[in-house]
């Protein structure tokens, strides 16, 4: 059998951590992307802040207001 069922291939602690970490990364990135899209912020991540700061616009003004 060269095709092996994942579970049958054996799961050590390291493998479990790896899978959980990967799942967390993918989930958190997807969620942030959706949230940013809803807020209307581009998530280009280009760092070309010379020309636009839409992605890293300071939001502390609004946050402080809420306080």
């Amino acid at each position: 059998m060269t095709k092996s069922v994942l579970l049958a291939s054996g799961f050590g602690a390291a493998e479990i951590i790896l899978v959980v970490a990967c799942a967390l990364i993918v989930a958190s990135v997807t969620i942030t992307m959706i949230v940013r899209k809803k807020k209307g912020k581009p998530s280009c991540g280009c760092g070309d802040c010379l020309h636009c700061s839409a992605c890293c616009k300071k939001t502390d003004v609004k946050e402080e207001k809420e306080k």
Binding site: C22, V26, C44, S53
Partner: protein, 776 residues
């Protein structure tokens, strides 16, 4: 919390002041219109924290460009507690023109007289107290660059914000003052806020006001009929503008005492300008600078020293070679030397690149991969970490140096003020294609990232020009597409021994520009027909680029790039790896069976579509890798090479491709592509060029798509834009591949192109005839 808005002319130093006040590191450029969106920050050194809003730079409150509407609406609708009007003291008259308009609003204001240091350096003097008396609002001398006078400015602004101020106008002595007061009374009766401002704008015949206050318009119309002026006739707009400037020259300008009385003297900036925008040498100098930028970034033979002196390669010098395990390799010291010299002196960009990739990233990731392999984890886990994550993310990270060097060069050109001159030089050419030189700036910015470039099109006054520009911006290959270019070009040069990787890269950039220009021409003569928009632009004075500014820019770029590699790219590589290691039955597949995976099966379905472009069915078994790479680019263009590296790595591990003598991760993913090329004889040079061209001109990453949607506004227009991108990339890719594979197809393409041109020309002639017939 109190809110203060910063308003002023473009390039008057608003953003510098904003940074000084808020401790933020927003960036500053040297051409008018860098800030097109408003940004917010907090000033904390006052009695209470104050929110500072940086508005886009504007010349007037009459809506000419979208950014002027943003600034105007902000002051009118959001009612800041105080407006800090920043005035460039070196350019007093024109800056005060905006001031006279803000004065008409019922909002507290303070004037920040910026660039006082530059004025004093010229030996000129400005009597700020006198100006304050004449304007009726506080005037504070500041130098935003050296953070002088900021505390005083904020204290005054804070005091003002507690008071109420009623609008005042400089037009009170003019012929139309009683018309203005009549309209104002009518508007006050309707309880309109800022009655004076609205009254004057209504008298000017401002589009927005006319729509808003139709009922009062009668008063203006009635007055117009009774009034004539020998210079302006019934043109109130001219009358108002003239009234403002006349008042400024009479009452405000005298506060400036010039040391040199002559009006048009030659400054250092003018001297530089005479060379750089020379009638004959201007364009060659521009091309030379562009070439120098690429040479500095990519050339492995800096200043052509290697070619001129026929220098030997390191591997040919015995002193640098040791024999380990029966193989000849370079000594450790020689490997460092190789970063700087190998048969030619490397250009600075390549040196940084080599040090980063060969000595830092390569070694470090090699160590990690070794450790993972020896950790005793399951083979699939090792594969996920080593082939999936590290090869994918590493190949993307390896592009940090060339991206940084390229953008350092661009920011130097921009910060110095040269970019604005390029618009001046190239306007004539741009006009042929139905654009103004103004459109050149967002396009050049597209080399950095399409998102800010698309946002910046707000500085364009003409709607059709804006749409056309937004559509072609992705063709200006952005930083994230650079990896595709260099990796594929490097692989091409390596595998086929054709040409020089740098030249292929530069040629691809130029291909993008050519496609952009042709598409604009096509759009402007079919769907987006219109008059060539006007080109009226301020040219900023040259100044030496600011080191701090440049470093901030580089730091931002680095920060975002690394962050992106470890978020979006990382997540994408994990997903790609997972989708290529599971079958539809959620059964785990070893690297050997990657061809039966979910992703492979889906991609194989789509694969035939790309046959005309060279990376479809003809590539056989593993051709789907190209399709997957191209599609993963829709998330982020860096993914294209990341995916390539991950998949090549997995294919190698599964024994499907031979990677002997190649290092999948090293040298910017070049070898990953090279391994794919060597495994498949169906891949020819034309396939790769078509692949680059397709990726460069197709739908950009989804962040850019989102921005395009927001900036275009219209849903239908956006859908057409998507269609346009797909069509262009498909046609361009197909054209390159077919001509490259079968040279005689160039006749078919030529015939097709001529046919299309003839059709458009004939149709336009017919339409023009019809139009002239209807107007007659």
């Amino acid at each position: 919390m109190r809110r203060f808005a910063l308003a002023g002319n473009p390039n008057s130093g608003k953003t510098t002041l904003f940074n000084g006040l808020t401790g933020s590191t927003a960036h500053v450029g040297n051409w008018p219109g860098v800030t097109v969106d408003k940004r917010e920050g907090t000033y904390k050194k006052c009695a209470e924290p104050i929110a500072i809003v940086d508005l886009p730079g504007i010349y007037s409150l009459s809506p000419y460009t979208p950014e002027e509407v943003i600034a105007r609406n902000y002051i009118l609708d959001e009612k800041p507690d105080c407006v800090i009007n920043i005035v460039d003291a070196t350019n007093l008259e024109r800056n005060l023109y905006l001031t006279t308009q803000i004065l008409e609003m019922d909002v507290p204001m303070v004037i920040a007289l910026n660039m006082m240091d530059a004025v004093e350096k010229n030996g000129d003097k400005i009597d700020a107290n006198e100006l304050e008396k004449r304007l009726g609002v506080p005037v504070v001398k500041i130098s935003a660059l050296r953070s002088k006078g900021l505390t005083e400015l904020m204290d005054k602004a804070y005091n003002e914000s507690k008071k109420r101020r009623c609008g005042s106008s400089v037009l009170e002595e003019s012929d139309i003052s009683h018309l203005i007061s009549d309209v104002k009374t009518a508007l006050t009766g309707q309880k309109v806020a800022n009655p004076l401002f609205h009254a004057i704008k209504l008298v000017e015949g401002d589009e927005i006001e006319v729509k808003m206050h139709k009922d009062v318009l009668g008063v203006v119309e009635a007055f117009k009929e009774t009034y004539t002026n020998e210079i302006f006739g019934g043109d109130f707009e001219a009358l108002v503008a003239d009234g403002r400037y006349e008042y400024i020259s009479k009452h405000f300008a005298p506060v400036l005492q010039r040391k040199i009385k002559e009006k048009f003297n030659l400054t250092r900036s003018d001297k530089a300008d005479r060379v750089l925008t020379h009638r004959i040498w201007g364009i060659p100098i521009f091309l030379l600078i562009l070439f120098a930028v690429f040479h500095l970034t990519f050339s492995e033979d800096f200043l052509f020293l290697g070619a001129i002196f026929k220098l030997p390669e390191l591997a040919d010098i015995p002193a640098f070679v040791t024999v380990a395990n029966g193989e000849e390799t370079l000594t450790y010291g020689a490997r460092w030397l190789q970063c700087i010299y190998d048969g030619g002196v490397m250009s600075p960009g390549v040196i940084i690149n080599n040090v980063w990739n060969n000595m830092i990233v390569g070694e470090l990731f090699g160590l990690i991969q070794g450790a993972v392999e020896g950790s005793g984890m399951q083979p699939w886990a090792i594969g996920l970490i080593n082939n999936g994550i590290i090869d994918g993310v590493g190949s993307v990270l390896s592009f940090l140096p060339p991206i940084l060097v390229l953008f350092l060069c661009f920011s130097i050109l921009e910060d110095s003020g040269y970019m604005a001159r390029i618009a001046f030089i190239l306007d004539r050419m741009f006009r042929r294609f139905g654009l103004s030189g103004r459109a050149f700036m967002p396009m050049i910015m597209g080399f950095g990232c399409s998102v800010p470039a698309m946002i910046n099109t707000r500085t364009l006054a003409d709607d059709k020009e804006r749409t056309a520009t937004i559509r072609v911006i992705p063709f200006f290959s952005c930083g994230a597409k650079l990896p595709i270019l260099t990796a594929v070009a490097g692989a091409m040069a390596g595998a086929f021994g054709v040409g020089n990787a740098d030249l292929i890269t530069l040629a691809m950039y130029i291909l993008g520009i050519v496609v952009a220009i042709l598409s604009v021409l096509l759009m402007r003569s079919t769907t987006l027909k219109g008059e060539t928009p006007p080109f009226i632009m301020e040219l900023p004075t040259y100044h030496a680029p600011q080191f701090k500014n440049l470093m901030l820019h580089l730091w931002d770029k680095t920060k975002h790039f690394v962050k992106k590699a470890f978020t979006i790219i990382l997540a994408s590589t994990i997903v790609i790896w997972a989708l290529t290691h599971f079958s539809f039955g959620w059964q785990y597949l070893d690297d050997e069976f990657i061809n039966e995976s979910i992703l492979a099966n889906i991609a194989k379905l789509v694969q035939p579509l790309f046959t005309p472009l060279g990376f479809g069915s003809q590539l056989g078994e593993f051709g789907w890798v190209f399709v997957v790479a191209a599609v993963s680019g829709l998330i982020a263009k860096e993914n294209v090479i990341g995916t390539f590296s991950t998949l090549a790595s997995c294919l190698a591990a599964g024994g499907h491709i031979n990677v002997e003598g190649l290092d999948i991760m090293a040298e910017n993913g070049v070898d990953a592509v090279r391994a794919m090329i060597m495994a498949n004889p169906a891949i020819i040079g034309a396939t790769l060029v078509a692949f680059i061209a397709f990726n460069m001109t197709t739908i950009p990453c989804f962040a850019a798509v989102g921005t395009a949607k927001a900036e275009l506004g219209d849903k239908k227009r956006f859908n057409y834009t998507l269609l346009f991108w797909i069509a262009v990339s498909y046609v361009v890719g197909a054209m390159i591949y077919t001509i490259g594979a079968w040279w005689w197809t160039c006749f078919i393409w030529t015939a097709a192109v001529v046919g299309v041109i003839a059709f458009i020309v004939l149709r336009n002639k017919k339409l023009a005839k019809k139009e002239s017939a209807t107007t007659l």
